[in-house]
């Protein structure tokens, strides 16, 4: 019972953080479940639970974000095209490509995007956005109401082709390595497509649910979804994510950015570590 409550508590925290940053919360759930000595859950079940946590984060938070028009639904559905095809490619490549150097390459890439996102911290969002014919034709430009600023923020979307390529790569990587679903999506939307920070994280939130739902079937068939672990995770994350989705509108973009950069650096260090010490989890 105590074990279940601990799992539940960790999941609430993972849900809040995941919903704010557009990440699945796997970065918290997997290490917490496997590394905490008195939990000591098998890594296979922890990964299964983290897939459930990604879907729960997405459902819990995206309901609010779509309603608030924070999620750009058109951008999300357009980009999901690339992430799902990437994920299928990744599933095929798994076992062919050694993951150790992939971890190093993408750990480095994440560290670089963290740096670029940190450098952008004083930049004004939505200024000097280059024109993009695809964004015009698909009517991707939009606006959202920012509670922290107290006004409507109008933004334009750019570099759709680049966005598609990056999302495809993000899909391949998450299919191959199992992580980095949101960690690569948010920088792609922020740096390449120039979406406002909050729109990037909440659009990523909607997308990760769709991609994770596709792979949930695999994990279920492999018997990795243990209901006694996944259930408290699902309940906790869903509650945490709903809570987080009410917070995002009130927080300032630069705080979200700072938090995201810190977490991104942490993930990139984890990946680099895995690359250098393969077999150590």
């Amino acid at each position: 019972m105590l074990l279940m409550l601990t799992t539940f508590g960790i999941s609430v925290a993972a849900g809040v953080l995941g919903s704010l940053l557009g990440l699945g919360g796997g970065i918290i759930v997997v290490p917490a479940l496997t590394l905490l000595p008195f939990l000591g859950i098998d890594i296979r079940y922890a990964i299964g639970a983290s897939i459930i946590s990604v879907i729960a984060t997405s459902s819990g938070a995206a309901a609010g974000y779509v309603r608030q028009r924070m999620t750009n639904l058109r951008v999300a559905l357009f980009l999901v095209l690339a992430t799902t095809s990437g994920a299928i490619t990744g599933a095929y490549l798994a076992g062919i490509i050694p993951t150790s150097w992939l971890n190093i390459v993408f750990g480095g890439m994440l560290a670089y995007s963290a740096l670029m996102m940190f450098r952008k911290r004083h930049a004004v969002e939505g200024v000097n956005v280059p024109a993009d014919d695809w964004a015009d034709k698909l009517h991707l430009h939009d606006s959202y109401y920012d509670h922290a600023l107290g006004r409507q923020v109008v933004y334009r979307v750019t570099r759709c082709r680049m966005g598609l390529v990056l999302m495809y790569v993000a899909g391949v990587v998450s299919g191959l390595l199992g992580i980095g679903s949101g960690a690569l999506k948010v920088p792609a939307m922020d740096l390449a497509m120039r979406l406002p920070m909050k729109v990037s994280t909440s659009t990523s939130n909607f997308m990760i649910g769709i991609t994770a739902a596709a792979s949930a079937g695999v994990y279920f068939a492999r018997g990795q979804i243990n209901p006694f672990i996944a259930a408290p995770v699902a309940v906790g994350v869903l509650l945490g994510a709903t809570l987080g989705s009410h917070l995002l509108a009130r927080l300032h973009s630069h705080n979200i950015r700072a938090l995201f950069v810190a977490v991104l650096l942490w993930i990139s260090l984890q990946m680099l570590w895995k690359g250098v010490h393969p077999g150590h989890g």
């Binding site: 799902t84 769709i210 994770a212």
Partner: protein, 148 residues
């Protein structure tokens, strides 16, 4: 901190086209779908877990009994057929698994519903885009079954 004060964007960029009520409708439908999908699956999951604790009250008292459930190789359904069969016999863990599957189905349902919404809006480009997405999701689900 830095508030947008820089170069004023050209006038037509300041105001996007007003939100089409039909577009807003899609967003409302999807947000309800996500919310109710979440609530319903949550209720099913909680019901399942409560039932299994009710049937096996030793989970409360004995740490080992519960530990056994979360250690690798613990018995729980791996297929939809198994979970449905168990759920009909009010087996808690089977009901909980069904709830988790319901949760996983919610985002896919959102994509499916958005296809109809875009058909209704006569937005041909997005009908094509979302249909391909749904197709890819189904393909990856099949691949998973084959590989698993």
């Amino acid at each position: 901190m830095a508030e947008p004060s820089g170069n004023p964007a050209p006038l037509e960029h300041q105001f996007p086209e007003p939100v089409d009520p039909r577009v807003r409708q899609v967003e409302i439908i999807i947000s309800y779908l996500l919310r109710f999908g979440g609530i319903i699956s949550l209720a099913v999951v909680v019901l399942g877990i409560c039932l299994s604790f009710y049937h096996h009250q030793d989970y409360f008292s004995s740490k080992d009994a519960y530990r056994h459930l979360i250690s690798y190789g613990a018995p729980f359904p791996h297929t939809i057929r198994e979970s449905l069969k168990g759920a009909l016999q009010w087996r808690g863990r089977c009901i909980a698994v069904l709830g988790l599957l319901l949760l996983a189905a919610t985002p896919v349902l959102c994509v499916a519903v958005s296809i109809f919404a875009f058909v209704h809006q006569r937005d041909r480009k997005f009908v094509i885009i979302t249909s391909i997405v749904l197709l890819l999701l189904l393909i990856s689900f099949m691949l998973g079954k084959g590989g698993g």
